[in-house]
Amino acid sequence: MTAAADSARPVEPGVLPRRSFLQGEQAQGLALISPTFLYALILLLLPILVVIAHSFWTQDYLTIDRTLTLENYREALTEPMYRDLLMRSMAISFAVSVATVLLAYPVAYFISFHGGRHKNLWLFIIMVPFWTSYLLRVMAWKVILGYQGVLNTGLVGVGIIDEPSNAFLYNTTAVVIALTHAWAAFAILPIYVALEKVDRSLLEAARDLGDGPVRTFLRVTLPLSMPGVIAALLIVMIPTVGDYVTPRLVGGTEGVMIANAIQAQFGRAANWPLGAALSVTTMVAVSAMALVAVFILRAAARLAR
C-alpha cells in the first residue's frame, strides 16, 4: 500500500518544495508509474541483461569465469543436439502460431460480425478454459492421446483400428496439438479487437461498388484486420518457442524442445552460461522469425488492397 500512498503524497498541499517540482503533468505521471516501472526494471530488464552477460562468461566448476568469450554461442549454434532442438522449437512454435490464428480467425469473425448482443458472453466463454491450470490442460491431452487413452479406445470401439496405437502420444504432433489448444484463446482476442475496429460502412461501400462477399472480405476486412492477425501470431509464436511443460508431458524423446535443454543447464548440468547462451539464441532466433512473418503479412495485406 505504501506505493500508492507515496505516489499520491507529492501533490498534497503543504509539501511545497516537492509540489512545485512535481506540478507538471509530466512529473506527476512519472512519479505515479515509477514504482511499477522500477519493479519491472529491477526484476525483468536487469535480469535479462544479467542473462545476456552470463552468455559471454564461462562456468568454471562452481564459479563463473567472467572473461568474455563467444564459446557458449559456438556450442549453442554448432552442437548438433542444440541446433536440432532450436530448429524443432522454431518449427513447433511456427506451426502452433499459424494453426491457432487460422483456427481462431473465423471464430473472432463470427463473434465480431454475428455476435449480436452476446459478444461479451462469447468472449468470456472462450476465455474460461484459458484461466484453468496450464499443467492440467496439457495433462488432459495425455489422457486423450495415450495408449489406453480416449482416442484409442474410441477408435478401437468404432472399429477404425484393431488395436490401440502408440502413434498419437510422445511425438512432435502431440506437442503441436496440445500447444494449439492451450494458446487458442490468446489468438482470438487480438483478432476480435481488430475486427471490431473495421469500419462497417467500408464493407457497405465495397458491396455497393459491386464486390461480392468473398472479394469484400479479401480486399477490405482481411487487410484491415491484419494488425490483429499479426498481434495474435506474435503473442503465440514467441512464448510457445520456450515451452517446457508440453514437451515434457506429451513430447516424449522425439518432441523435446529447447526449453528442456535450457532447464537442464540450470539444473543437473549446472552450466549457467551455456543455458544463458541457449536462451539468448532462442530469443534472437524467434524474434527474427517473427519479424519475417510480420513483414510477409504486411506485404500481403498491402497487395490484397
Binding site: A40, L43, F124, V193, D243
Partner: protein
C-alpha cells in the same frame, strides 16, 4: 448468387464456432469426468461412479500444505501486483509523459516472453542478490507475471473515467489524496477487485516460475508435477485438478462480472485483453 454465398457463410460460421468451443472445452472437461471414474487409469469405458479419489485428497498432508503455500503466494502476488497495477494503469490512462510507451511496454513484456526466460533471468539475479529460494522469490516472480493482466483489467476500469468529477472534487476543496480516496477509488473499486481475483488465479495456477524459483516449499502446481511421475496417483491428481478448475472458474467469473460493472461505471467498454 451473392445471397446464397452469404447465407452459406452465415450458416457455417456458427457451426464452426460451436466445434471450436467443443475443441476448447472437451479436453478440459475430461478431468472432472475421469475424477469420478472408479478405475485407477483414465480409460474408457467408465467403470462406475466414485468419490474415493476426492476422499484420498482429504487426508493428504503434503497436498494440503502445498495448497496452503499456493494460497499465501497467490494472496501476496495478487495484492502486490494490484497495487503496482493501480499506479501503472492510473499513470498510463490519466497522464501524458515522456517515455510512457517504453515504460508500459516493459511492464507488459512478460505477456509476450517465454516464461522460462523470465524464470531463469530472475533466478540468476535473485541468487546474485544473495536471496535464497523460497515462497518469497516465487511471489516476486508471480507479481511480474500477473502485472500485465492487472494493468489491462485496471486500465479498462480507469479508461474513460470522467475527469470532471475529480476536478469538481478538487474545486470543492478536497486534497488530491482525498479526491482519490473518496471519488476515484469508489468508482474503480470493481476493477481493483477484478485485478485481485485475476492475479490470484494466475499465481495459483502458475508452474514454470514457481518450478525455478521455489525452494523446499512446493506450490500446488509443483506438487502436481511431482505426482505426475506416478501413474497410480493420476486419479487423485484429476480430482485435485477438478477442484482447481471449479475454483478458477468461480474466481474468473466473479472477476469478469466486476470488471463489467467497473466498465459500466466509467462508460467505456473493452475485454480483459482489449
Amino acid at each position: 448468387m451473392n445471397a446464397v454465398l452469404r447465407r452459406a457463410a452465415i450458416n457455417w460460421l456458427p457451426a464452426y464456432a460451436a466445434l471450436y468451443i467443443l475443441f476448447l472445452y472437451g479436453p478440459v472437461l475430461l478431468l472432472p469426468l475421469f475424477s469420478v471414474n472408479d478405475s485407477a487409469t483414465p480409460t474408457l469405458p467408465f467403470a462406475g461412479f466414485t468419490w474415493k479419489w476426492y476422499e484420498q485428497l482429504w487426508g493428504n498432508r503434503e497436498m494440503i500444505n502445498a495448497a496452503w503455500n499456493s494460497v499465501r503466494v497467490g494472496l501476496a502476488a495478487a495484492i502486490l501486483s494490484t497495487v503496482l497495477g493501480i499506479c501503472g494503469a492510473r499513470a498510463v490512462t490519466r497522464y501524458r509523459f515522456a517515455g510512457k510507451r517504453a515504460m508500459s511496454g516493459l511492464i507488459m513484456a512478460p505477456l509476450v516472453l517465454p516464461e522460462i526466460i523470465v524464470a531463469i533471468s530472475l533466478l540468476l539475479v535473485l541468487l546474485a542478490f544473495g536471496m535464497s529460494l523460497s515462497l518469497v522469490t516465487v511471489t516476486l516472480g508471480h507479481v511480474l507475471i500477473c502485472l500485465p493482466y492487472s494493468m489491462v483489467v485496471l486500465m479498462s476500469g480507469f479508461e474513460g473515467f470522467d475527469r470532471s468529477l475529480e476536478e469538481a472534487s478538487a474545486d470543492l476543496g478536497e486534497t488530491a489524496f482525498g479526491t482519490f480516496r473518496r471519488v476515484t477509488l469508489p468508482m474503480v473499486a470493481p476493477a481493483i477487485l477484478a485485478s485481485l481475483l485475476v492475479s490470484f488465479t494466475i499465481s495459483f495456477d502458475e508452474f514454470i516460475v514457481a518450478f525455478f524459483l521455489s525452494g523446499t516449499d512446493p506450490t500446488l502446481p509443483i506438487y502436481i508435477w511431482g505426482q505426475l511421475r506416478f501413474a497410480s496417483r493420476l486419479p487423485a491428481v484429476l480430482a485435485l485438478g477438478t477442484i482447481m478448475l471449479i475454483g478458477s472458474f468461480l474466481l474468473v467469473t466473479i472477476a469478469e462480472l466486476l470488471r463489467r460493472r467497473a466498465v459500466a461505471r466509467t462508460k467505456t467498454d473493452g475485454g480483459l485483453f482489449v
